[in-house]
Symmetry: C2
Amino acid sequence: MAHAHLYGVILAGGSGTRFWPLSRERFPKQLLRIIGEETLIQQTVRRLLRSMSADRIMVVTNQGQADSITLQLMNWKDDLSGNIIFEPEGRNTAPAIGLAALQLLRRDPDAVMVVLPADHVIAQPGKFQQAVSLGVQLATEGNLVTFGIQPSRPETGYGYIQPNRRSRLGHRGKMTGYRVARFVEKPDISTAKRYVQSGNFFWNSGIFMWKADVVLRELERQKPKLVKGLKRVDAMLHDGAAKADIAKQYHRLESVSIDHGVMEHASGAAVIPVDFGWSDVGSWSSLEEVAPQDRGGNVLSGNIMDIGSTNSVLFADRRMVATIGLSDMVVVDTPDATLICPKSKAQDVKQVVQELKKRNAPEHLEHVTVMRPWGAYTVLEEAPGYKVKRITVMPGRRLSLQMHHKRTEHWVVINGRARVTCGDDVYDLHAGQSTGIPIETPHRLENPGSDVLEIIEVQNGPYLGEDDIVRFQDDFGRGETT
Amino acid sequence: MAHAHLYGVILAGGSGTRFWPLSRERFPKQLLRIIGEETLIQQTVRRLLRSMSADRIMVVTNQGQADSITLQLMNWKDDLSGNIIFEPEGRNTAPAIGLAALQLLRRDPDAVMVVLPADHVIAQPGKFQQAVSLGVQLATEGNLVTFGIQPSRPETGYGYIQPNRRSRLGHRGKMTGYRVARFVEKPDISTAKRYVQSGNFFWNSGIFMWKADVVLRELERQKPKLVKGLKRVDAMLHDGAAKADIAKQYHRLESVSIDHGVMEHASGAAVIPVDFGWSDVGSWSSLEEVAPQDRGGNVLSGNIMDIGSTNSVLFADRRMVATIGLSDMVVVDTPDATLICPKSKAQDVKQVVQELKKRNAPEHLEHVTVMRPWGAYTVLEEAPGYKVKRITVMPGRRLSLQMHHKRTEHWVVINGRARVTCGDDVYDLHAGQSTGIPIETPHRLENPGSDVLEIIEVQNGPYLGEDDIVRFQDDFGRGETT
C-alpha cells in the first residue's frame, strides 16, 4: 500500500542528557537499545518501512553523530546513502524540516512527508501504519497533520491540541481527522488537569504529515527570512559548496521549533487522535510505560542480581549489579559511570550532566566505546603514560594513514586478520601475532578480510591525546581526530 | 613503656562477606581501606606498635590470604618475616590462639599476649594503649582479661559480659578491672534491652590479654584433645614437616571459638570496661559509627558526584558514581560489581554472596586485582579468545619460570624495566618496548630495577585459565596457579 509520493523524514539531531549515563552528548537517546533488540532509530526506520521503501527515508542529523548513525543504519546503507542530511549544528526542528522539504521537492514536487523523531517508542506499529494512511489523505488535501495522544496524566512538559469536533476532515476505520481548534504549549498543572478531565485535549506527539510544498509555503508566510536562508543552504548543498561556508550560513538561521514556527498559527492544521502505544520515553522513570516488567514491577536489563526490589528501573551493562530491597529507584550502570536515584528525581539527571560539563569531565561527552566510520574503539584503561584500547575494524575498512609525534603503539591481533602498514613495510597479522609502531612512523591498520578484526592497542608516551595525529590519507575525508 | 614480656597476636583469618563487593572471599575486610589511609590490618599493627616493637607482633592467617597479607605488611617485613603463622584452614579462634601461644612459649616462657582481630576499628589508639598497660598487669597476675564496651544499642549479635563490681582486680587512672560475674552469648532482644538499661553489661570486644601458659593451661583443662593436637602441629612446624601432613593434622582439630573453649567456663576471667572508640564495623551501615560524615550525614569515598543525598554510605572506586536524593542507602561500586541497597538491608549482602557462590560467579571469590607475592595483576578485559591484564612487579621480584600450552602472551612495558626470559634468550625491555611469547616456550618476567615495573599483557588462545601453567622454577615455592 505504498503511496506514490510518500517520504519519511527522521529527525535524529537530539542531544541526550535525560538518559545519562547510557546516553551522552555524542551518543543520544535514539542510538540506545533501551527497549527491544534494536536501537530507537533502527525501530523508527522499521516503523516507516511498513509504509514505504528504504530509499524513501531521509534522516536529518548532525556531524557529531555522523559515525554512530551511519553504523546503526548499516543494514540499509545502499538505500539511505544519499538520504542523510548532516546539519552543521542543531537549529531546532523548523530549519531541519524546512531543509528536508526543499531537498524532497528537488526529487518530487508532490512529495508528502511524514516527519518523526528518531527517539520515540511506538508499541503498535500496525496502528501507526493505519494512521499514516489517513495522514496521507489529509496531507494530500493540503492539511498540516498532527497526531494527538490521549493523555494518561496531567503532564506539564508537553503541548496539548484541542480538535474542533464539528469539523471532521476524513476518517479510516475508527480513526478520524479533525480541524485543530487550538494548540496550547506546556500548560500549568491545574490547566493540564482540566484538559485531561475534559477528554477533548490531546498531547502533541511531535509527529507530523504534510505536503513538502504546503509546509514550506506556510513556513515562508510566517518566517520568510528563515526560508530565504534555507533556500541558500539548499543551493549550496546542491552546488557542493565548502562545508565551512555552509556551516556559516546555517548558523545564521533562526533557531525555532516547527510548533512555534508553523503549527500554532497555521490555518490548515489538522489532528488525528491516535492510540498506537506512543511514548517519548522522556526519562528513566518513563520506561515503565513501555518496557516489560517483572513480578515486582521492575524493568530489568543486563547483569542484575536483584533480591526483592519493587517498581524500579535497573539497567546494567557488563558489570554485575546487586540490588537488595529497592523501591521506586533508578539504577543505571555503564563502563565509566553509574547513576542511582529515586524515580521521582530522574529528571534531575540533567543537573549531573551540567555539573560534569562544568568540570570538563569526559563522562558527559562520550562513552568509553566510541563509534568511528571504520568501526569502533573502547578504552580499557587510561593512566599517565599509557592507554589500552580494544579496536574493532569492520570488514574491508581501514583507518587513516597516520603518524604520532609523542607515542609508540603496540598492536596485538585477537580476532580476524590485520593488514599493517608501518613505514615502507606492509604485512598481515593473524590472531596471536603482534607488532610495534615506533614514534613518528607513518602507519595504517586495515581489515582486508571478511570477518571483523579486533586488536588490543597499547599506547605509550608522555602525551596520548587524540589530537596527536598527523593524517596523510583518509577514506572518510577526515582531517583531524581519529 | 614497652613491657619486657608483651607480644601481640593479630587474628587475620576472617573471610569476608559482609563488605562485599569491596571484600571478597580471598580479600576480606582486614585488607580494606574503609576508613583512613591504611587498611584495617595495617591500622591494627600501628595500634600494637604503641605498646611493643614490630618483631613482637605475630599474625595468624590462612594460606589463601598469604600474598595479600605479605604485601600489606611490607613496611615491617624484616621484623615480621618469621612471625606469620599460616593456618592450613580456619578452625575458629581457639586453635589459632592456642597455636600462637605454643609458638610464643618457645620464644619466651613468660610471654603475655594481647590478642586482637585484624578487622576492628579503634578510633582512640592512645586509650587502647592505656588499656593494654592495665591488661598486662592483670594478665601477669594470672587473669584472663577481656575488654568490655559500653553498649550503645540492644545488639543481639554480640556476646555480653557482666562484671562483678565488688571484685576489683586493679586500676589505672579511671580504668578498672573486675572479676567477670558471667558471660552471655547473643541474648534475645528483650534481654539485650534489659542489659543496656542496667548499665552493668558490656559487649565482648573480642580483644583478650593473658599469659601464654595460663591460657594454654585453661584450654587444656577444658579441651585436652585440642591442646594435644595443637602440640603436635607446633612440633611439626618446628621440625619442618610437609605442608600436607600439617594440614591433615590441623584439619582434625576441634573448630571452636576462644569464648566457648575457654572464657565462658574459666575461673580467672576478668573484664576491663573501656571506651576507646571500638567498632567491629560489621556491615556497610555500621560505617557511620566510625567514619567522618558530610553535612548531609553521608559517608563518602571516591569518585562520587552527589546531589542532595542524606545519611547514606557511598563508596566508589575509579568509575564515576552519580547519586541524586538518596536517603539511608548504601552504594558500593567496584571494578566488576556494584551493590545498592537501603542501609536497613545491608546485612542481606550475605544472600548475594551465597547466590554468587552457588552460581560459581567469580565476583564472590576475588577482585579483578589479585595480589601475588611478586606484585599484583588486574584483569582489564576478558572475553572468549583473549584476556588483557595490567601486571605490576615489585622491585627485585620475578614471576616463576613457566610455560603455557594453549596461549601466546604479548608484553608491552609501560613503566620501569623488564628483564625477559624467552626460551634461551634473556633481554631487557624499557617503557614503550614490547615482546611476544610463543606457545610452549619457557619464559619469565623479572623486575631487575629499583622502580615498580608495569606491563600490559595480552593473552591469546582457545583456553586462558590460570591453571594452564607449567612451572619450572619459582622464588615463592609455588607449584600451581600464577
